[in-house]
């Protein structure tokens, strides 16, 4: 028997008719739907793509990413030190379909900023109203004499996680007890400012527990580094006589590498290594340069409210590739910037003006598996860049009890689970 039409069904039918009849009106009243292309599926790009869709489902979003698997850098130092497997760092993109993000499994080869279109390596062309570039970093293969892409097979950088991470781990595992490991840390700016020192700590932990006659030297192109006092206090306590840090002013800057002799060269001498980890100078990922969004530094200046390029209208840059003022190049920063950028892009497409943002960064480092330290900051736009909110932020207290270091190590683990769940889950 046919039921009389309920009020709910009536409303549904009426709605269908009304929306069809009124179609041109909302387009004018609420801003026409737009097309956004996001290049790069890391912490910045994948977050941004999803959040644009959640903020305004009328906007079409295509994420361009060549690799079917993302390999996360945070916690990859644990993989190098043999405390974690690489698969714990790896994430796929299938859940992005829940937000109806379109995936283009290819790499972006060119950007036509005038015509507003991205050309992919597979020759397809994606037109956009707004483009978000989140390409991360590229290694500057021209910046350190002797350090070529081929050299990185002998002296891994392991600064983009994946095969390089495993290569460095295998070299450490193959090294005999009593060997010398040398890490070269670059001048600022670079991805993950505390990263080289966390890596040094965890490699020192590996050596102390597995190869205690060995030695680790960090050659640094700087005189100061992130969370320095906390790291150095912990090194004194945990790895005395094992880990030596050589600052810029005491001859730490590596000026060239001699790969056949496994030697790192400074102005003050030559350091022969059994295992050499060269963390080289970096720049924004290649597509940012191709889009005309990089400046002389190799990084991308952006507006601190919308993260729109200061050089290319309608192109936004987020994450490690962008110059974000006081905000460091971290996964937490990239994810936070991505959400702000998503809101700004949606606003701009709708004809509105982005709200002034406030951003937070938190970076944990492990000095040992159960010994965590952190730096946090709060940022706001001022004088054309992101600046620290005064009175906020800072590092873990130098005199914190051991329980606080354990708690921060646990928080570090929790952070990784939560952020990767938000980005890829």
């Amino acid at each position: 028997m046919r039921q009389p039409t309920s009020r709910r069904e009536f409303l549904k039918k009426a709605a269908a008719g009304a929306s069809a009849a009124l179609l041109p009106m909302p387009a004018i009243a609420q801003g026409a739907p737009g097309r956004v292309v996001v290049v790069g599926g890391g912490f910045a790009g994948a977050t941004c793509a999803r959040f644009i869709r959640r903020i305004d489902p009328r906007i079409d979003v295509t994420l361009v990413e060549a690799s079917p698997t993302f390999t996360a850098c945070p916690f990859s130092n644990n993989v190098i030190a043999g405390m974690r497997e690489l698969r714990a760092q790896q994430f796929g993109y299938d859940k992005l379909a829940n937000d109806r993000v379109t995936l283009a499994m290819s790499s972006a080869s060119a950007v036509d900023a005038q015509a507003r279109a991205v050309t992919l390596a597979n020759n397809s062309r994606l037109p956009y109203d707004r483009l978000v570039l989140a390409p991360g970093i590229d290694i500057r293969w021209d910046a350190l004499p002797g350090y070529t892409e081929a050299a990185s097979e002998r002296m891994p950088h392991a600064w983009r996680a994946g095969e390089q991470t495993l290569l460095l781990r295998r070299q450490l595992e193959a090294m005999e007890d009593g060997g010398t490991v040398v890490i070269s840390a670059p001048a600022n700016p670079f991805r993950c400012p505390p990263g080289p020192y966390e890596r040094a700590s965890l490699i020192a932990y590996y050596l102390k527990t597995k190869k205690p006659k060995s030695k680790l030297i960090v050659l640094d192109a700087k005189d100061a580094f992130s969370k320095q006092r906390l790291f150095q206090d912990a090194w004194k306590q945990l790895y005395p006589g094992l880990l030596e840090w050589v600052s810029l002013s005491t001859g730490g800057k590596v000026t060239s590498v001699d790969v056949p002799n496994m030697t790192l060269v400074t102005d003050f001498g030559r350091h022969k290594a059994n295992v050499a980890n060269v963390i080289p100078p970096q720049k924004a990922g290649r597509i940012a340069e191709a889009a005309g969004a990089t400046d002389r530094t190799g990084w991308c200046p952006v507006d601190p409210v919308s993260f729109e390029s200061k050089q290319q209208p309608n192109i936004h840059v987020i994450g490690d590739a962008a110059i974000m003022g006081a905000m460091p190049k971290s996964a937490f920063s990239a994810n936070a910037q991505a959400k702000v950028c998503a809101a700004a892009v949606a606003k701009l497409i709708g004809g509105g003006k982005p709200d002034e943002p406030r951003l937070i960064n938190t970076c944990y480092s492990l000095v040992a598996p159960d010994y965590g330290i952190s730096v946090a900051g709060v940022y706001r736009p001022a004088d054309g860049q992101l600046k620290d909110v005064e009175g906020a932020g800072g590092v873990s207290p130098a005199d914190a009890p051991g329980a606080a270091r354990v708690a921060e190590a646990n928080f570090a683990n929790g952070w990784f689970k939560t952020i990767t769940e938000e980005v890829f889950g």
Binding site: A15, L22, Q30, R54, V340, I360, G414, E422
Partner: protein, 101 residues
Amino acid sequence: MTRTCMLTAAVLVLASIGPASAAGPADAPPGAASCSGCHPAARVADTSMSRLIGGDPATIVTAMQGFKSGQLPGTVMGRIAKGFSDDEIKAIAAWYGAQKD
């Protein structure tokens, strides 16, 4: 009557296809979007970190004020809470309180 229904229905449709409405991701107050880097949105994430989504705004405000003044011991939260005014904290707490799973 029919006209009223039609208009109501049209508004409903526009609301459902438009930008996420009041208290949705489009209306997150300054700073709120950063919190979910550590504070999980879903119950599945295996972490001791508190969930903010659907939380009681007054409880969130009390915690943030405690972190800010130093009365509530913590690790990073004291350093973060100091970056927000009382009104900003209230806005963030109200917004998280209004979020649903």
